[in-house]
Symmetry: C3
Subunit: 181 residues, 3 copies
Amino acid sequence: MGAGGTAGSLPRVTLVLGGARSGKSAHAEGLVEGNGGRPVYLATAAAGDAEMAERIAHHRARRGPRWQTVEEPLELAETLSRVTAPDAAVLVDCLTLWLSNLYGADRGVVDETNRLTHALEQVTGPVVLVSNEVGLGIVPDNALARRFRDDAGRLHQAVAEIADRVVFVAAGLPLTLKSVS
Amino acid sequence: MGAGGTAGSLPRVTLVLGGARSGKSAHAEGLVEGNGGRPVYLATAAAGDAEMAERIAHHRARRGPRWQTVEEPLELAETLSRVTAPDAAVLVDCLTLWLSNLYGADRGVVDETNRLTHALEQVTGPVVLVSNEVGLGIVPDNALARRFRDDAGRLHQAVAEIADRVVFVAAGLPLTLKSVS
Amino acid sequence: MGAGGTAGSLPRVTLVLGGARSGKSAHAEGLVEGNGGRPVYLATAAAGDAEMAERIAHHRARRGPRWQTVEEPLELAETLSRVTAPDAAVLVDCLTLWLSNLYGADRGVVDETNRLTHALEQVTGPVVLVSNEVGLGIVPDNALARRFRDDAGRLHQAVAEIADRVVFVAAGLPLTLKSVS
């Protein structure tokens, strides 16, 4: 029995980290679909520009009509409390976009991270969170980009600490960093 | 027996991913030399500027005179079909430079990726492909760089999918991401 | 028995690589504290600007008063020879800052890397070195940044080659790349 009383194979919280176009979203979708039950896609993206709109359409086409889609750029903790359920598996795609949205809305990152991890500890069904690893390049020139990668790194550490499973994806291939059985 | 009837230890297709100066090329050269048979270096670099010319000379000096060198910045699929052989092992160095050359020649990346993976499925001896992982830093400011890292990510996924072995190299140390025995 | 006659669990040389805010320093501190004996913090940072001063204060607060702190931005080899001891465990934080300081002081990177690895082969107690992986993003626009990530990559390869243990940290989670028992 998995977390939250489902018959699936997913634990309560899974974090899927990876680079740009690493296949992390497809891997996470496979985890959610393989779990059985209702797949729920919690999109943090807002289709604000053409590049992003194209990515969203591409991802939606790949997932197919079985998925329920919930769009929520900011209130991630509340939305997770509402949409998780024993008979569902929720995919959050992705945390770095959510962090970027927090910046745009001038929300405090530390408080929001705490609210997220608290909500993750209370979910009633499995959640898979996708995020971009952005801290492995050269130090960015501008201070905002440096702050963003610092905040992303801290957010990943906080979620990884409470996650049951953490996977790093490169070239479409998963590498397990943590697995609590 | 390895792929293609050689007596070596290499499978048909190996992908070696790594960062800048991660030791990925040296690792790949070791794989090819350890396989026995004729080592063939398929260079995608064109010595267009001083920085690149220096890198090429450095790599060539390390490999030594046993290696046959073939330079081909664009027609990778055709060249692989021609130079692979049961008694040879071919090192392609590297895919990201080839991708960059495709941009310069205004070739369609999706079509060229398909031609490459098709050619890799038909090779008559083992091939080791080296490529730079470029998707783990902060999102680049300019759209071309974003497109490049997206295309590189998709190319890596496509090659990794058909590869028998995928290795990630950091600080000169290999980490196996995939191994089909 | 660990290296250098201590009763601890650390080998002679450990390299901890990771991205920005990956938890690499905290992981390395845990290794040093778990080893027993006197923990020594060898800081290569100079508190030259507000951002760096804040990071140093944050790290110092986390370590607590048991730690001896030695600050040395440049003479890493000599300082290691002086502060390593059978009853101590030394944390060097971090190599990329040291490399940056070498640039500022116009020192030759190849010579200094050789002096460092030579000193590491002579240490009388365990050393844990922390460094930033910076080579996994898009190729930087400016030549200095490209040279820096090349030099950092070569430095990591050189230290990893003589290290007994190399660990990659992502989201606070260690992944062993090398372990000589």
